[in-house]
């Protein structure tokens, strides 16, 4: 059974057709590279999956169950997490605080509760270890490298036991060495059976980690094939329209 399945998803804003009948599926532990030029509908599709928009037509199914998201929180409850391009971290807080932000564990004393830092540090350390990232829970995020910051953002999605993680341009603004670190983080997520949708402009990164590639052009899906059966040249052609479909 597919972890996530889209059936003929369309979205229009007034007369503008942002998505037109997009169908695809992604299995558990699979990485899907979502590619397309600016305005091709990538962000709209991600926002539909993440519950920011509801589709005008079509269906979204998670583990075979049709879902209807009205707010991002609905999607989160269903196990969909987003790692934003800017990572949405608080630089002034520790790694552990960022991982647990908004879901801080507490030790309860009758009606009162105090933050349970021990659990926060311990759980974050476990998550960083599972990601094989050298990130210390007590360090302030401000002083961290791009790769460590990614690890913090990704550890946050692990904490909620996400089943589908959407990553928006995770390698857009970081150094080459850190790109390798982020790609290995994506690999670790996949190894834990999480389905990942990777939105990226960077062809080499997508080809390095994606199992399948979906190309969107003007709101329509023009390709959906295993990475091994495609090539960067073909995908470039599909994105620009030099190649009609594949």
């Amino acid at each position: 059974m597919a972890r996530l399945e889209l059936k003929g998803v369309s979205k229009n804003f007034g007369a503008i057709q942002a998505l037109n009948g997009v169908s695809t599926r992604i299995e558990p532990g699979q990485v899907l590279g979502l590619m397309g030029d600016n305005g091709a509908g990538k962000s709209t599709l991600v926002k539909v999956i993440a519950g920011n928009f509801s589709p005008s037509h079509g269906q979204v199914l998670i583990d075979g169950q049709p879902v209807q998201f009205h707010k991002p929180i609905d999607a989160q409850r269903a196990g969909v997490e987003i790692v934003y391009q800017d990572l949405a971290l608080c630089n002034n807080l520790t790694a552990a605080s960022n991982v647990f932000l908004g879901r801080e564990p507490r030790l309860r004393f009758g009606p009162f509760g105090i933050l349970d830092y021990q659990t926060m540090y311990r759980r974050s350390a476990e998550l960083f270890k599972s990601l094989k990232s050298e990130t210390r829970p007590r360090d302030i995020v401000q002083k961290m490298s791009g790769g460590q910051r990614q690890a913090v953002a990704i550890a946050r999605t692990l904490l909620t036991e996400a089943r589908i993680v959407l990553m928006d341009e995770p390698t857009a603004a970081i150094s080459i060495r850190q790109v390798a670190e982020v790609l290995s983080l994506i690999g670790r997520l996949r190894d834990q059976g999480i389905s990942i949708i990777l939105i990226s402009h960077r062809m080499p990164d997508v080809f390095a980690v994606a199992d399948r590639i979906v190309v969107l052009r003007r709101g329509e899906k023009v390709a959906d094939k295993p990475t091994s059966q495609s090539s960067p040249e073909e995908v470039t052609g599909l994105i620009t329209g030099a190649i009609e479909t594949a």
Binding site: A88, C90, L101, G102, E104, G113, I114, A125, E134
Partner: protein, 332 residues
């Protein structure tokens, strides 16, 4: 490989106490305050007298109490310019209600409610209408003081009905040699420090100050937290108002004028970052202490009080300058 990774993850950032201490602004400010006290004790024979120290601790307590509230606001990325006016409003409500023959407890509750209302309006306008804190609280600075004038007819009040003596004792007296405002400040500092470090509320205040967008995305009730920090700041101003009436033994409508600047200076010197995201309760208290010691020393050394504004203003600028330089270094 695995063991070295685990070792790296489990390692703590600061290896010893000194490394941790010396990285704290509040530690250096504390040293400066202590140094100033030692210096003054040797330079003048008036500083280390019981009478003078009693005055210093009481004066600094009033600034310190509000600096606690201000630190919460500044840490969340805001600013509250209306605290001085909340002080006079709270003080005036206390005075008027008591002068009309009502008991102290009723007057104090009404005074605190008046202050909380000011904070609630500030917070609602800032959080829900997205108005800049500077503008809202600047407007409120004028409104609350004006309201105090309207309520009192701009007259001085110095008779407080049946609980007159109790009020003077509460604000001006001492228990075990400690002035009551100082005790109030210590209690509030402990409470605030605890809330900052150990509650979700504190965690969220600093998260909002660090990256409001991230806080919103993680589902923190950002708007409610923002309203709460302005109400907390107004609450500390309200407490100060009630105590200060008792200390002074009379209220005029110029009480607490320009106090916001001293309070902001105290918070900033104590390590609160005007860009949001950092600040401590202990820092607020130490910042207030340093300002009061310097203020007091100017008087004792015979320097005109006209210079005080110069010092307070320079402190704010210097503290922010240090922050800039430090921030640039860590960003590299």
């Amino acid at each position: 490989m695995t063991t070295s990774l685990e070792h790296a993850i489990d390692r703590r950032q600061h290896r010893n106490l000194w490394a941790w201490l010396s990285s704290r602004q509040v530690f250096w400010v504390f040293l400066a305050a202590v140094a100033a006290c030692v210096l003054l004790s040797s330079l003048t024979d008036t500083f280390a007298t019981e009478r003078n120290l009693f005055n210093v601790t009481r004066n600094f307590a009033f600034v310190g109490i509000i600096a606690l509230g201000m630190t919460a606001v500044i840490s969340s990325g805001g600013i509250d310019l209306s605290v001085g006016s909340s002080v006079v409003l709270s003080a005036m409500v206390t005075a008027i209600v008591m002068a009309a023959g009502y008991p102290f407890w009723l007057a104090a509750i009404l005074a605190l409610l008046a202050a909380l209302a000011v904070g609630a309006i500030n917070g609602l306008l800032i959080a829900y209408l997205g108005m800049p804190p500077f503008v809202v609280t600047l407007g409120m600075l004028s409104i609350a003081r004006s309201l105090a004038m309207v309520l009192s007819g701009n007259k001085m009040i110095w008779e407080f009905g049946p609980d007159h003596e109790f009020l003077l004792w509460l604000g001006g007296g001492a228990t075990l040699g400690l002035p009551h405002p100082l005790i109030a400040m210590v209690l509030l500092a402990v409470f605030t420090g605890f809330a900052f470090r150990w509650t979700r509320w504190g965690h969220h205040v600093f998260a909002i100050g660090g990256n409001e967008e991230a806080a919103i995305r993680t589902g923190i009730p950002v708007k409610r937290v923002k309203v709460s920090v302005y109400m907390f700041s107004a609450f500390t101003a309200g407490i100060t108002g009630v105590l200060e009436v008792g200390w002074l033994g009379g209220v005029t409508t110029n009480l607490g004028q320009a106090m916001e600047l001293t309070v902001i200076a105290a918070a900033v010197i104590g390590g609160a970052n005007l860009a949001g995201g950092s600040g401590t309760a202990f820092g607020a208290v130490v910042g207030a202490l340093l300002i009061e010691v310097i203020r007091n020393s100017l008087i004792l050394l015979g320097i005109s009080t006209f210079w005080q504004g110069m010092f307070v203003g320079s402190f704010i600028i210097i503290a922010v300058a240090f922050d800039r330089i430090g921030g640039r270094r860590s960003a590299e």
